[in-house]
């Protein structure tokens, strides 16, 4: 690392609080992590509602305005000057921005990763106080003229006055439920649950005779603290409820509510007449309502996607979808629904990307652009299971063209594939390390060639072709002529029906995955490398299930069910004697998907490697339980295929 450069950055930061409170050594550590970015006049740094980036900003030169938009009117809240610190809400965790930031002049900005700073916040009380003062007073910019902690402290003490909160939008922006379900303290859980079920709501407030709130019970409480612990039905609600509750007056402004929920990390806020817990309940606000108020419902995101032709905008929306995903995961929304929404969003991005690419290439390829084609996703995206933006696997099938046109046609589709892959990478997806992507000449072929590929894999099931089979057999048409994909599917079933032995090979392959548990029922962890002592949830738990589901679906010649857990549901119908096991396997797969996605979001990784130590006891048990159906299914497969095969 260059000392000259680190020093240059450090010397700049040092002039301004809170960096001026930091000792040389720690400040150097901060300076090292800085990323320098340049924004032209009118370029947007972040927008309201967008998930906070993993850094906050210091303005090096230029000027940045922070503003809100209300009734299509720009309302400037702050103009940042050299040395001002902004975008600091990122330090409170990945919450959405509350304002827009735009460069007012050409500006050079230092981005400081939250991760680097978090540690400092814990160790250096002056720095944390400084920020706390800013947050509490609702400041959006950490001003450089508040250079001593004395001042910071004095602001801190008047925090309750919230004078700076004008920066937030008004009350009209959020909806909350005025009809609140309540019950008395002596009700039983069964009664409370029945009431929630009847009204179709996710929470119930426990009140006293004067209708003052005493506590709250949510769906999640019933699942996690009641069902899991197998408490009796007549357990009183008082045993389960969360108390005390957080109350506010519904006339509080949005900002106040927002910050209260952010800081307390609670999911529900109860409105009472005077805002204190000692007055009657008037309404309830969930963080879901807040999320919606910021335009993060799937419908809003999908609509926004449909309406944009800007790759940068698409990337932003995909980032917001991740925020939605986190919310869903935390709140245990059904996997079916979550996978559906996220796949839908991914599909729209791909479709948009293809349309953009077609437009860009149409002048250059007047003939080739008329050729019909189908863009397919493979692997987990093909199975509609890709929650995180892990590796891209996709391909292009185009209709058969005369020999003379083939070269030009393929050139066109390769460029098309290249453009699409580039757009997807810009949207945060990762490239496939094995290059199974539409910009690879091998996977951008006419239908005849694709049929040839599959025939070959089915006819000569080598290790390599079985591997390809596991990825390519899960293809799903995303855009273009679906008939081309259907023709391929038909071809595959025809081939398999004449070469039944292929399924035996596929079965054998499905049993090759290493077992998840050792002899002592301990997790088998990675022995070496970067992922040492971690559990490979994809290889050891998810792949065996996905492989088995694919195999059985193929053996029943089912078309159009790609999802692993939906495949198991289908299989439960087809093999009623194993119905329960199949359903269990599907459930297990859903749990594994959820665990992986949570892990991935937490660590900004593919979520593939989990360290069992970090899991709670309950989760560890949950994970272990998912292995049971794997084991059972593998036994069945062994009997059904391998033994038959060796018997031949």
């Amino acid at each position: 690392m260059s000392n000259v450069i680190v020093n240059r950055v450090k010397e700049f930061l040092k002039q301004f609080p809170p960096f001026s409170f930091i000792d040389e050594k720690s400040l150097e550590a901060v300076a090292r992590e800085v990323e320098v970015k340049y924004y032209e006049k009118d370029e947007v740094l972040f927008t309201k509602g967008e998930e906070a980036q993993d850094c906050f900003f210091v303005l090096k030169e230029g000027s940045v305005k922070l503003f809100d938009v209300k009734n299509e009117q720009e309302n400037i809240i702050e103009i940042c000057d050299e040395g001002d610190v902004f975008g600091v809400l990122a330090l409170l965790g990945k919450r959405p921005y509350i304002l827009n930031a735009k460069a007012q002049e050409d500006s050079l900005v230092y981005a400081i990763p939250v991760l680097t700073f978090e540690q400092l916040l814990q160790q250096n009380s002056r720095v944390s106080l400084y920020f706390a003062a800013g947050f509490a007073s609702g400041q959006v910019v950490v001003r450089n003229d508040l250079s001593d902690s004395q001042k910071a402290r004095s602001i801190f003490s008047q925090a309750s006055e919230d004078k700076g909160l004008l920066i937030f939008t008004g009350n009209s922006d959020f909806n909350y439920s005025k009809e609140v379900l309540t019950c008395s303290l002596d009700s039983t859980i069964q009664q409370a649950a029945r009431m929630m079920g009847e009204k179709g709501v996710g929470s119930i407030i426990i009140v006293n005779e004067q209708n003052h709130p005493l506590g709250i019970i949510t769906d999640k409480d019933i699942r996690n603290r009641f069902v899991v612990k197998a408490l009796p039905f007549h357990t009183p609600v008082s045993h389960l409820m969360s108390t005390p509750v957080l109350t506010k007056s519904q006339s509080s402004d949005f900002s106040d509510l927002y910050l209260t929920m952010v800081k307390s990390r609670l999911h529900h806020l109860i409105f009472t007449e005077d805002g204190s817990p000692d007055s009657p309940v008037t309404g309830i606000l969930s963080d879901h309502d807040l999320l919606l108020s910021q335009g993060n419902s799937p419908a809003v995101l999908i609509k926004a996607l449909m309406n944009t032709d800007e790759v940068k905008e698409m990337a932003k929306i995909r980032n917001r979808a991740e925020q939605l995903l986190r919310y869903y995961l935390e709140n245990e929304v059904s996997m079916d629904f979550v996978a559906n929404i996220i796949s839908e969003i991914n599909d729209i991005i791909i479709q948009k990307a293809l349309k953009l690419a077609e437009l860009k290439l149409q002048a250059e390829f007047p003939e080739a652009k008329k050729v019909k084609y189908c863009f397919v996703s493979l692997g987990s995206e093909g199975r509609e299971e890709q929650l995180l933006r892990t590796d891209l696997d996709n391909a292009i099938i185009f209709e058969n063209v005369p020999e003379t046109a083939l070269e030009e046609t393929q050139k066109y589709f390769l460029e098309l594939g290249e453009l699409v892959v580039e757009i997807l990478l810009s949207c945060g997806f990762q490239p496939c390390p094995a290059k199974m992507m539409a910009n690879n000449p091998k996977w951008c072929q006419p239908l005849a060639e694709w049929k040839q590929y599959f025939s070959e894999w089915i006819l000569t099931p080598t290790q390599d072709s079985l591997l390809k089979a596991t990825i390519f057999f899960d293809f799903r048409a995303i855009y273009g002529q679906k008939q081309l994909a259907n023709a391929l599917t038909e071809h595959i079933y025809q081939e398999i029906s004449t070469k039944n032995i292929f399924l035996n090979f596929l079965a054998k392959n499905a049993l090759l995955n290493p077992p998840p548990l050792g002899f002592f029922r301990n997790f088998i962890l990675e022995k070496s490398g970067e992922q040492r002592d971690k559990f490979d949830i994809k290889l050891r738990a998810m792949m065996p299930l996905a492989d088995i589901a694919r195999l059985l679906v193929l053996s029943h010649k089912i078309v159009g069910v790609n999802n692993t857990f939906k495949r198991f549901e289908k299989l439960a119908e087809l093999e009623p004697n194993y119905g329960e096991l199949m359903l269990e396997a599907g459930k297990a797969y859903e749990i594994l998907m959820r665990m992986r996605a949570i892990e991935g979001i937490k660590n900004q990784s593919s979520g593939r490697y989990i360290s069992p130590e970090d899991l709670g006891k309950l989760q560890r048990q949950l994970l272990k339980n998912t292995f049971y159906p794997i084991d059972e299914l593998q036994k069945i497969i062994k009997v059904r295929y391998q033994l038959d095969y060796f018997g031949n």
């Binding site: 000259v4 240059r8 950055v9």
Partner: protein, 223 residues
Amino acid sequence: MGLLDFLFRKKIKADFVSSYEEKCKQSIPSQRPIDQLTFIVLDTETTGLNPEKDKIVSFGAVKIHHGKILVKNSREFYFETSENKNEALKVHEVLYPKDPVRMEAFAKDLLSFLEHHIIVGHHIGFDLKVLENSLSSFGLKKFLNPVLDTQYLAVRLEKGYHYDISTGKPGEYSLDSLCERYKIPLNDRHTAAGDSFLTAQLLLKLLKKAEKIGIGDFKSLMR
């Protein structure tokens, strides 16, 4: 190191050179948008202005990834040469560094840092020649990366393709005058690392300018 050793080395290609060459086979897709590209901006200071004869004294570089200069991914090295030893005696603290780097360690680090990314510099041809000479003993013939000269880019953006720089005012496209024109404060000028940081900031500004006139992807940038 004996003479034989030295001669032997010259012929044999070091492993890290081979793996660098392997990596460079991976080309950057021509459609990749500018904000998704990775650049290595570098600068060298030498004992003179003759790249064949003069030796490298110091080296500095920063990485730009997705439009951001990553301070963490910067480099700064000093080398021991017969000349600077004498100098160093005279002006000890001012010029010379505590730990000169060994050429082999430098070569390894440089090639793994460069990977197949785009090399950028001001008058980069000179720096590349100096570096190629320094690394030739490990079997490196030529850098295989795409190369972008900020001087050339600035001229192209301001005057167009066919402008002949020698017809303009002398020094109009020197790093100093460009930094002045693009409002980049001249800090740490004439240290390799300082200059590479300045050049990197210049590049960020030039790239935005390029995007405005429709130079949006790798292919059109490298034209």
